[in-house]
Symmetry: C2
Subunit: 150 residues, 2 copies
């Protein structure tokens, strides 16, 4: 039996991660799976930062999902530490399998372990399934997410 493992991403996971980032209605235009150089540079920055946790979900040595958890200390809410989930991607063949739920549950558990009191994330309004997905996991769609491209 091949169990799923969620573990820190390593250098050799980059092609599989980038393929998942690109295999997405929004990601298709933003990524460059044929040129991994910028991803290698970024991977080094991510692994050098102890508050970044880039993980992959692996079964039978296949990378099937990824997400990045960022731990953010701060003063508000009585000096609360919060966590932010970014870059959640599930391999096309695994969508609807419950893997997304397992990955978010991992992020919530890890946030609790790191003494965070709040987990947050944003989802593009065009991802219409996301709202039900996150609400089912206990999240509240209480905020508007603003972005400014530089």
């Amino acid at each position: 039996m091949n169990d799923l493992a969620i573990r820190p991403a390593v250098l050799s996971d980059i092609p599989a991660i980038v393929a998942m980032l690109a295999d997405d209605p929004l990601g298709a235009e933003r990524e460059s799976p044929d040129d991994l150089t910028p991803y290698h540079t970024a991977f080094q920055r991510v692994t050098d930062d102890p508050n970044q946790h880039l993980v992959v979900a692996v079964r039978a040595e296949r990378v099937l999902g990824t997400l990045q958890l960022t731990i953010v200390p701060g003063l508000s809410r009585r000096g609360s530490t919060r966590s932010i989930i970014e870059g959640v991607r599930i391999h096309a063949e695994e969508r609807g399998s419950g893997l997304g739920t397992q990955m978010i549950q991992w992020a919530v558990d890890e946030s609790r372990r790191q003494k965070c009191t709040l987990v947050q994330l944003t989802s593009d309004v065009t991802r219409t399934d996301a709202r039900r997905f996150y609400e089912r996991l206990g999240f509240t769609a209480s905020h508007v997410g603003f972005k400014l491209t530089l």
Copy 2:
């Protein structure tokens, strides 16, 4: 003439920062300005992390605003680094003075200096003025912000 300065927060700014966090419809219930201990602990964590930039806006030695900028390296968008703005607060006497605009502009400039390609933030849906404010500054309300309290 007393010019405004935006500078990194120091330990002695904590009472003024916490007073601003508490002087807010949402913050009033969340903060404890009479017990600064948790804020001192959190301040140490923030200043120990080179990717956290907690700043204050000061004029004539008075703290009139605060925000926290977090730099987040990542793989998505060809290895983009993004920044996240949290905990924006303006002193009650300064609201509507343009100070908020100056502070967000500082955060955008600093993000650009740090080679970020995206600046993001979330705002509680009950903060009805925020949307117009951020859209005027060029932000797009493209996302839904989810939170889970642990």
